[in-house]
């Protein structure tokens, strides 16, 4: 079943599959997806293409140094690069210890005191750098965790929405079928199996809103490349009503759109046609229901 307003959403399925809708557009389109099988089918068809784009970038061999860097920094098996100031501090240590660079304000007797202070300061700095390194790593871990959760949730949401929309579309169709069948104003036309399918039976029901459902049973299985086509048989020739596919048990339940130009009741027939259907019937008649 398609949303009567489908035209205004034309083209949005592709943008949705590409993730190219903004939040508001996405919300509106997802509401439409719940009632439009055409759009659900299009999204389902295009999602693999959009996902496949990840593999369209040519693979490139990373530099060996990057491998070393990743393995060292990530697993922390050797010196952690999360303390980036280490070199600078080594430089500072070297610079301060250079005998050529004593500060003019420091008296000779005071050197040992200044040295003690320096080591204390250096120890505190190293401890602080270690703590900052740990803090940065912890923050990084938390952000990474959050991002992974969001990534996974986004991927799941798209899939869940598509599955949900499919399920809702089917549920909506069933509801419409049930409403038609349960309506007080329902009218019906019986279709009988023709000599090529003597056991087949079908029934068309419609209500005063011209909502129509086609039900069939014991319909023979189709050869590959064939499809059953339902026709409105009008005085000036047949007009296609729907393409129908029986399930494994040979049963069919499908909604049929009835254009305003079709008078009801109307004679209806089912023929076998090449896949995709034909503008006019060409194959054998399997079911026929005539209006007296």
């Amino acid at each position: 079943m398609s949303d009567p307003q489908h035209e205004q959403y034309e083209g949005l399925a592709a943008l949705y599959a590409m993730g190219a809708l903004n939040a508001r557009e996405r919300t509106v389109f997802e509401s439409h997806l719940e009632i439009c099988r055409t759009c659900v089918d299009e999204v389902t068809a295009l999602l693999p293409v959009s996902h496949g784009l990840a593999h369209a970038a040519p693979p490139v061999e990373p530099p060996e140094a990057l491998r070393v860097r990743v393995l060292q920094s990530v697993t922390g098996e050797t010196e952690s690069p999360l303390v980036p100031n280490r070199e600078t501090m080594d430089d500072m240590l070297t610079a301060v210890e250079e005998p050529e660079a004593p500060t003019v304000h420091v008296e000779e007797p005071a050197r040992s005191g200044a040295g003690t202070l320096f080591w204390l300061a250096a120890t505190l700095l190293l401890a602080a750098a270690g703590a900052i390194g740990w803090y940065v790593a912890e923050l990084d871990r938390r952000v990474t965790d959050l991002r992974a959760t969001v990534d996974a949730a986004n991927a799941l949401t798209v899939r869940a929405n598509t599955s949900l929309a499919q399920a809702r579309t089917q549920a909506n169709e069933r509801n419409v079928v049930l409403n038609i069948l349960a309506g007080a104003d329902v009218e019906r036309l019986e279709l009988d199996g023709q000599p090529i399918a003597p056991r087949a039976r079908a029934r068309v029901l419609w209500d005063s809103d011209r909502r129509m459902v086609f039900l069939a049973s014991d319909v023979p299985a189709l050869a590959a490349g064939d499809v059953y086509q339902l026709w409105f048989v009008l005085p000036d020739g047949p007009a296609s009503a729907a393409l129908v596919e029986p399930d494994a048990a040979g049963s069919v339940t499908t909604l049929v759109e009835v254009p305003d130009t079709i008078p009801l009741p109307v004679t209806m027939a089912v023929t076998v046609e090449p896949d995709g259907g034909m503008p006019a019937p060409t194959g054998d008649i399997y079911l026929l229901g005539q209006v007296n």
């Binding site: 190219a20 295009l46 293409v49 996902h51 040519p58 490139v60 491998r67 990530v74 991927a155």
Partner: protein, 201 residues
Amino acid sequence: MLLGALIDDAGNGASSPAERVRDRETMQRLAEGDASALAAIFDRHARAVFGLALRVLEDQGDAEDVVEAVFAQAWSQARRYDADRDPVSAWLLTITRSRAIDRLRTRQTRPNTAPTATERALVELPDTALAVDHLVVLAESATRLRQALTTLPYLQRMAIELAYCEGLTQTEIAARLEQPPGTIKTRIRTGLHRLRETLTE
């Protein structure tokens, strides 16, 4: 080629079913904190991850940082990886795209660093020689998708690449390419359907 096979291939990169089983075992070891497992995952998937990061960022240093972030995330999130849902390559590439787009947006807040759409177009043609140089064996579908992209008209390809590589919305793509949003919508739709047709032929 059946679309189902494309989905498998697209999710699977160039790996065979046996390699996928091996990936799954390696992810289990990674979840247990085995550092050698990270090396194994890196060696199997870093080319695809680095390739995608380079494609999005077009900057060696930025792409290398993204590779590091991706494998850091793989290391810390290995327990959350669900092998029944995604192949490892698809999982890593999803993270890669997300991290790379984050980096791209950060970089674009700095002036004069983002290449213009035209500059990007000039360098975005897939370089098949590069792949040969690196002796990379590609999945048939990945190669076909790459080739199919190059055959799309300029606007279709640019619109799709800006959506994928930069995570831009229809409106942002329209502004970038100086086209009406309706044109972008049509180009993306036509382009995606053409890619799908190529892959299902």
